[in-house]
Symmetry: D2
Subunit: 139 residues, 4 copies
């Protein structure tokens, strides 16, 4: 995908469908989270390793545009990139496809906080660097 | 609430919390849906009555900004207004509060489709009128 | 309801329905939890007050029999009783009805643990007594 | 696993955890469904292929015993077997493990119905045979 170098796959669960016969729109918000967790596992030792260092990443914004319905048991590809580290804040962008066709797109914003005090802490250097490496344009 | 004349209440379920000890951000997307259903019940005979006339309202966009965490068993007030009917499209705006304090705000966009063909159909006149009455500024 | 003196009401959310057009069976497990929380609020100061005293109630068993499907927006009555306190264990029984018709029935088992150590602790006396009062047969 | 020849893997999503810091007990009910879908895909052409033939499998009973807590991002192995076809009814048994350690076990019961009329229909011969082959003891 243009501008995206990482993707993960989710499969629509029956429990995630609704009485319209499609994947419920709230399920996509969970798919984005699954993609972030996979992204961090691939690039920064995993979200749990971040939590283990006493940091939580709060979600401060979620935005999804739905272009096509998704159906039970379909495999969706969630293209994911992390952008815009600034102090205690960062942002992800997503593009969800099925067989190359755009199903949904969105972005989320996050703030890193100390796990005990819930006060903002800067995104750790090692995490910012791991993401910068992941998102560096191929030479 | 300034600009809002309708609200409904949700209470954070334990199943909706996450390992950060707060209501998971995807739960709010469901709260917005609960609020839309309550809004339609108050103003337009209920969402089911719309479905019964062969119309589905698809969600085409969801956007939520999270200002404060919400916790298990808290009562949240979801202020809701319907705006911008245009052909087969309409939009809701929301403001979620706890004891008058802003917890989250957001908006959703929807498209009305024929239940069988899933092709766009104009928002029915009676529905547009019911909403217009609901949102009319008090004299 | 015969043998039950407490009930609470839930309403089937659209997000809880599935592509069979009915409330997904896992949603009922959440309804039982909502009912337990309401039960404890009515009889023992609320689940949060139990958590505030350093106790968590883990769920050790869930069993549900589904007799009839439930549909979007329906109001379900969840009859709930707490039985069988024994040391660190207790049990709930449930009967879910719609307009007096049996929709589902079930039971759950729980164990009380210390919130820090997660080791079993006896159900506190005041809680056992509150439940005993709640379940005492009317004279 | 003794008596089980099929397993699938699920990974605990953050959205599935709760404020006890563990995978919420209702999430396991969804894991069992994910396992059934994987089982049918491996042995009988997939659940969707069954739905495509006009048959729905309703869940009539769910029972889970929780032995150990599961945590965010853990990989769980869901051992699954299908037993006891009888007319329009069948049953699954499950054993959920983490690194060979028992986390939970359970069973579900199902009834096959006609998709339009929702009246019971016998489990189709080809499906019963596919399952019988899958569960046949190795020679």
């Amino acid at each position: 995908m243009d501008g995206f170098s990482f993707s993960t796959e989710v499969r629509v669960r029956f429990a995630e469908t609704d009485a319209q016969g499609i994947a419920h729109h709230a399920s996509f918000v969970v798919y984005l989270e699954v993609a972030r967790v996979a992204y961090l596992e691939a690039h920064a030792g995993g979200y749990q390793s971040i939590r283990d260092r006493g940091i939580e990443a709060l979600t401060t914004e979620v935005s999804v545009k739905y272009h096509r319905a998704a159906y039970f048991d379909e495999r969706l590809t969630v293209w994911t990139r992390c952008t815009g580290f600034r102090g205690a804040r960062f942002r992800y962008e997503y593009r969800i496809e099925r067989d190359g066709e755009l199903v949904a797109e969105g972005h989320t914003s996050h703030a890193t906080v100390d796990r005990e005090t819930y006060r903002p802490v800067r995104v750790p250097e090692w995490l910012a660097e791991a993401v910068a490496r992941a998102e560096a344009p191929a030479a």
